[in-house]
Symmetry: D2
Subunit: 168 residues, 4 copies
Amino acid sequence: MTEMPEPAAPPIAVIGGTSTNATIAELACAVGREIANRGGVLICGGRGGVMEHSARGAREAGGTAIGILPGRPGEDTPNIYLQHRIFTGIGQARNQVLVLSAVAVIAVSGGWGTLSEIALALKHRIPVVLLSSLEIRPPDGRDEPLLFQSQTPVEAVAIAFANARRFS
Amino acid sequence: MTEMPEPAAPPIAVIGGTSTNATIAELACAVGREIANRGGVLICGGRGGVMEHSARGAREAGGTAIGILPGRPGEDTPNIYLQHRIFTGIGQARNQVLVLSAVAVIAVSGGWGTLSEIALALKHRIPVVLLSSLEIRPPDGRDEPLLFQSQTPVEAVAIAFANARRFS
Amino acid sequence: MTEMPEPAAPPIAVIGGTSTNATIAELACAVGREIANRGGVLICGGRGGVMEHSARGAREAGGTAIGILPGRPGEDTPNIYLQHRIFTGIGQARNQVLVLSAVAVIAVSGGWGTLSEIALALKHRIPVVLLSSLEIRPPDGRDEPLLFQSQTPVEAVAIAFANARRFS
Amino acid sequence: MTEMPEPAAPPIAVIGGTSTNATIAELACAVGREIANRGGVLICGGRGGVMEHSARGAREAGGTAIGILPGRPGEDTPNIYLQHRIFTGIGQARNQVLVLSAVAVIAVSGGWGTLSEIALALKHRIPVVLLSSLEIRPPDGRDEPLLFQSQTPVEAVAIAFANARRFS
């Protein structure tokens, strides 16, 4: 009989815009590093900007980076730091795949696309940690216990691990 | 040779939560009626709440209501006011189908799911008109020319028609 | 209190390749006409070839044609015979939306894409009627009670209506 | 400056039914082992049957197994041999994600669902290798250069690697 393999590492999604400045790039990279340092797997949208820098951070720390891409192979350009590239071919609907596959989401920056992912994660009751200047409020004004603020990459990842949904 | 058929009516998406109070229900119904009165097609998520009341309004005014449902037939319960039911079986990823099929989106109320749709529409550059108390701000603080506020159902629909993306 | 609206017309999907010859085009058109004549709604993939000719047939008979398109508006070119265009933006995964939204599927011709749709419909237990020269066998060699052969468009549509899944 | 990381291992998809007999289970396991032995990554649908046995084989040989699941976490039951679980929440439409993410597909057995995946892979011009008794013919009767027959797991994997689409 085969022995039960070791449990997989918890996947943490890092989301944010494709265009970044040096500050955002360094924040994203530090988040990726810290996820790897704590034994997590980094999953991201697979493209440039925050996705690329967080994947780079995970790889630099010896971790695993997985990209969930919107396009098909050939039409989509994955960043070079991904060990595994999941080509969905379903466009922005791939955000659902990203948040459902994560035990927690860390949002580093971004515009409407990132906001859409944050809201979708919370709709699915996946915890979301905001880093840097992102400011999100529930549209109905109610308190949201799964939405967290953080000041540093290390704090963001600590909150993500502490509040991760049960990984089964 | 076949003659070119008449151009189809412009589809306007109405979005909002599944749970409503009497005020929200009446707003949604009035939006649906006004869309039909102006010759538009109402498209919605196909379920209850704002989706149902807006579809009811469109039907009462002699118009067409189409539902884009998250589930499969049998597992999903479409409201009774839809002439056409599109069962996607892709869960919340059906929000992408809804916003891409519309020339404008009107948001009546709602929580994280509705916010996710609003942000997704704007990511795809589909105009969004907010009605009632919804308050949304771009996460990066930039001005968003495709996001509109309205005070009444008639005004919301007028703004939607005036700013609809080109329908081709 | 609002009265219950009349039940919607049963949607029948017509599938087949984008490239057709005159024979296939006429078959597809005749299938569309017959669906409309029997009070059904024609749903198709929204593009050219069999999709376009079946939609043309439905329109010529005074019926309704709905297209479920793989792309986004602008990147996809719907045929001119559709009253309603559902832009999914999920590529070939839109085949799932097409078969789940139908009470029966009629396959007129086609290659791997059409075979994929036929198999997907049967996986979901939606009846499939084959017209013209298409020959499909279950991969496991078992008898498939939901797969039908037909010789003419009128016979194909009659079988589709007679075996349609319950429309609720 | 960061050095370019090593290229990722080529992902090979193994597909087949959820119900298997001992012969099919051993074939699937041997395919998974051989993929790992040759340095590939095993990707599969993440559930039981052929998916589980191929993942078990890859793990036994020290390789990596990734599951692309149809459901959401909690509603879907991944097999225990996966290092990474991608929850799509898009139902059978996840077959598109599976074939697009692979450089080649090996089909071990199965019914309509597997046939649908085979046809979808070929529609996207991903090579498909058939093992065991599966017999598939192009619906239009044309020769298909990307569809291969094999007699043993080792031969199936050899053909898959030899004909894999360019991995970029």
